[in-house]
Symmetry: C2
Subunit: 286 residues, 2 copies
């Protein structure tokens, strides 16, 4: 069923073989329909894909990397490389560079987003990835920690169960693939609404995107976001905010924020990141 | 400090001795500044108040009822009655009726909102309370379960940690003091955003109000809501919603809901329930 849905989703899109950025909320289906991973595989070129897996966020990079290798092999990928980058200097390695200059798909696994940024930020490897994504030469996917790094600003950690407040979220600098976004993942599953709102209160010129588990915000090069998978993508748009007390409160006092726009996007829903509008929904038959 | 704030809040309001409805998110301060309970006491008439405590939601009505009695006694109330109503027929008792016809403040404690509704709904006692609140003869406060019953529709229970979906929230009929609202309480503390969104998807003609612990939405008779206490009041306004898949999905499939308006209201913020607008905020000095 999920496979059929993935096919329908692909059929709707004339550009189904073009590159995209897939921001995955973690815990994506790796066993059954594998809708999200299958879409990454297709967008990276299908059987002609050359996929680079970067498991640097993980504490067990070899294990998690090999798991994704097996999955993409089963799908029929002929060329897969595991770039087990653990130190920044590896990002200048010629073999790494060559791989990133020629591959058609890069996959960032989960783990700790600070570790992933620590290894990749401001390296030649990262610059190659960014430029090739911008030039639509490369499909990039990140799941969990690999999703968190997509914006210029990044949620590095935080809490839940409190009124939104400045100390509820730890913010850092991400890898800036889609700088406009602040991404949170495992979103409803880990009750992260208050921390994403707190992040947006800090950077109200950004757009907050919360992605549930086994759910993907697939972003086309024109800025169209489409939802795939089992859950929802929550959009918090502060574009019309009329008041915030952010600069007046202490770190633990509750934040006040008036006139946010909130969208709960379900399967097949489309949203334009730059127009900040939900696009007309011609929903898929499920 | 909290006491000073309560005084300032009162000073701003020319109508500080007029009746109001206080919707309290549970776990309100009962020991220190007691800002919220003090405001209820003041609005019920202060030392001239005649307060009726209805602990019917609780499994330990005598204990919880006596606790509130002591608090209001300490504040200087001379006339307090504990209406320990455990059966519906008690709502026709002449002494209960007489108390409710003459008192100046009614306080609903926490517990189970279904129990409170089961005992009070469609009784002469409830009709007296409703009419006297509407005629501005009575200040009514409800905390936790006592807050949940304020709308026509009521959240009776539910879950968290999931994408918004129909099965995430159990809905019932409340006591309809402010019918336009669907109230949730212990709101950010128990991560209830997804269940309130799910409730609003079901009844998009209502306004969703999520109240944090030790926080109060104080509602004047003209529909002005003002925030008091430690946390935030979250307003989910579906008035501009352009799309929902509510009628198309099964109970567990994720909901889709576009163009909600979301306000995080902090201390002193004011919102008009019927205009559905944040009012200009002349924030209190804290």
């Amino acid at each position: 069923m999920a496979q059929l849905e993935a096919q329908l989703l692909e059929m709707r899109k004339p550009q189904s073989t073009t590159t995209a950025v897939l921001i995955i909320g973690g815990a994506e289906d790796k066993v059954h329909g594998r809708e999200i991973l299958q879409t990454f595989f297709n967008r990276a070129g299908g059987q002609n894909a050359h996929i680079a897996i970067i498991p640097s966020a993980s504490r067990e990079p070899a294990i998690i990397g090999n798991r994704y290798m097996s999955i993409f092999e089963e799908m029929g990928a002929k060329q897969i490389e595991l770039l087990d980058i653990r130190e920044r200097q590896q990002c200048e390695d010629l073999n790494v560079q060559k791989c990133l200059e020629t591959c058609t798909g890069v996959f960032w696994t989960g783990g700790d987003q600070l570790r992933l940024c620590g290894v990749l930020a401001d390296t030649p490897a990262m610059e190659t990835i960014r430029q090739r994504v911008q030039c639509n030469e490369l499909t990039l996917a990140g799941t969990s920690a690999g999703a968190a790094v997509m914006g210029h600003y990044m949620i590095a950690g935080g809490g839940s169960g409190e009124s939104p407040n400045r100390s509820l979220v730890d913010l850092g600098t991400g890898l800036g693939i889609i700088p406009e976004l602040i991404v949170d993942q495992h979103f409803q599953n880990r009750n992260r609404m208050a921390r994403l709102i707190s992040a947006i209160a800090c950077y109200p010129d950004r757009l907050g995107i919360g992605i549930d588990e086994d759910t993907c915000a697939l972003i086309e090069s024109d800025g169209t976001l489409q939802v795939m998978g089992k859950g929802t993508v929550t959009v918090i748009d502060p574009g019309e905010v009329t008041h915030t007390n952010y600069s007046e409160v202490t770190a633990t006092e509750p934040l006040s924020l008036h006139n946010l726009r909130l969208h709960i996007l379900g399967y097949g829903d489309r949203y334009h990141l730059y127009k900040r509008k939900v696009l007309s929904t011609s929903h898929l038959q499920k």
